[in-house]
Subunit: 192 residues, 4 copies
DNA sequence: GATGAATGAGTGTTCATTCAT
DNA sequence: GATGAATGAACACTCATTCAT
């Protein structure tokens, strides 16, 4: 069962999306196709489940980080979120690129949206509760950060996956997010 | 020929990746499968060509924008790049999501990398030549901006595609890039 | 055990021949597949047994009716056989169409032949012992009646299943059989 | 194309319903599966088409015979219909039993009903126009004859298929139908 | 004796690709 | 150069049957 999850990732990573078929997954998992179909009604459902698990983990990570930084400064928050997200990604380094290949295969739109919405909400809440926070449109800012986070990291992917570059990526993203948030605060100040 | 390109995009948009087969593409293009195979050695090559066209256009856009802003301030540059990239994306609004679906299908890694590299180089050159520029690691900054640009926009995709939200996305991204660049400049100042 | 028989009929009636699989039968019968296979060596044997039961019942019905009408006139006999057969069929109205679907699935040829032979023999005996009987080829006539009986009723099937039409079918078949037998008797008379 | 029709019948006859799969049909027809699927959208459609062809031929036969015997006596009509139907069946001796196996596989109900209805209507018209005809309920009688014809012959099937027995079967059925019709006419006379 | 998870051969169907016309 | 019928390998999925518990 978990073996099937694991096998799906492995096959996807090593053989690619085109060679990802139920027989191969089953063989790699050390079971028969029949067994696979006893646990998942069809291929789509399996891929969906794998996606779901990964995305839920990412959203959890961000939520926990945000919850743990209520009352902190926005700079601290930005650093914490970037760090947590990157760590989560790197912990599943092999899975991640594979999943981006699945995502399109069938309608993960809903799934992704829900993950993004959870993260956006968590970040928004954290920004609202920041010790030094004050933003005109907290929701918009949260959306922007989420998009940048979820989008930029995969774009960085091959670089990010090696520890050294991961650290560098974290530094740059943190600087970017921090300066963006500060700019938005200053924006308010300027408006006043 | 261009009809085939066009048809590929259309089929992908309307029927999805799963129903994207050569017969359908040929029919939509108003030619026979045989004809299709006279222009492209195989399906992969066709998809590759379609991808290539789109990515080359994006890289061209960024290069032109960078070339056109040599000597400008980094703030002007940031705004110009964001604006140009978004405009290019929105001009091909229908194509874009379709292509992200293709990208995984076959090894577009190389193709994407080359596009990203072209853009990174162009941005790097522009930053070096900026009237107010001075950065410790211009290349790293250019990489970060490119990743954020190429990654964040698709993540924003469904929002970005409507003109109104497109404008908002542009504003936020511009703010983010500007503040990031300024922060990096200040970083140098602080180091001194 | 009887539950399995019952379940087979039910599944066949409600889900159709294509969805008739051992797992479904077992579940409907409230037992496990394993249990099913402890009573029947394979699916074929199960279907065979179900068929057998039904056909044996039909043959029994005809035999009993024939035995009970030894010495009666051929007209009485004809009426009695038609009535008995129709009653037996209608008593198992739901089963009957289902079984005709099974029949082809596996070699029920032998089974059906044996049933038909039993019925033919019973009818032949009854005709020979009829108070007013005298036929040139009793066996041929018995065969014809059996074929007409076993064949026509299913052909009538959807109509026959409603009581009203059942009565009408009975009337017509009785008339047909009676007049056929009388014609055969008259044939002998004419030959003399 | 006709080769596929032919192959379907052959496979059905020689290998049985259970071994009737598209691959086998294609191979026997001397084409590839792909070709088969270029002419028939799916297996069901193929079987349906084969059924349709056969049933339409039977209904045609009966209609033509009835049309050709307008104004004849009911006795002549009965003999003609039985003869024509048997000839049609025997001409396709191999097909016939095979098709009865298909019939149940999927919803041929409609198809069969339509054939039966066509035949019933033709017989009814012929009875109405018979030179010596006069029946209380022509439709009911036509229905009964159709059911007896369509039902009894297959029940006779293995016997009917050899010429000698075919002749005997024809004699008996003719006697049965003739006497049935005469009995119905007499019924009217008696009522008067 | 009962269970039901595991098996894997077998099925219907699709689709990239070829090649005779 | 254009065509599109033909191909057949490959896939998702089913289900009769087994066997360890």
């Amino acid at each position: 069962m978990d073996a099937i999850f694991e096998a799906t990732i492995q096959v996807l990573s090593s053989d690619g999306l085109l060679r990802l078929n139920t027989t191969r997954i089953a063989r790699r998992a050390g079971v028969s196709v029949g067994t696979l179909y006893q646990y998942f009604p069809n291929k789509q459902a399996l891929l969906f489940a794998v996606m779901d698990q990964h995305l839920a983990m990412l959203a959890d990570t961000i939520e926990k980080t945000c919850d743990g930084n209520l009352g902190a400064t926005v700079e601290t928050l930005a650093a914490a979120v970037v760090k947590a997200y990157l760590q989560a990604k790197m912990a599943q380094a092999e899975i991640s690129p594979a999943l981006y290949r699945i995502a399109s295969e069938l309608d993960a739109r809903e799934l992704i949206d829900s993950t993004v919405r959870r993260s956006t909400r968590a970040i928004e809440t954290a920004l609202s509760g920041a010790s030094d926070g004050r933003f005109v449109d907290t929701n918009l800012i949260a959306q922007t950060l989420t998009a940048a986070l979820y989008g930029t990291v995969p774009a960085f992917c091959h670089k990010v996956l090696s520890p050294a570059d991961g650290t560098e990526a974290e530094r740059q993203l943190t600087i970017m997010f921090r300066s963006y948030l500060v700019a938005q605060q200053r924006g308010i100040a300027e408006i006043r």
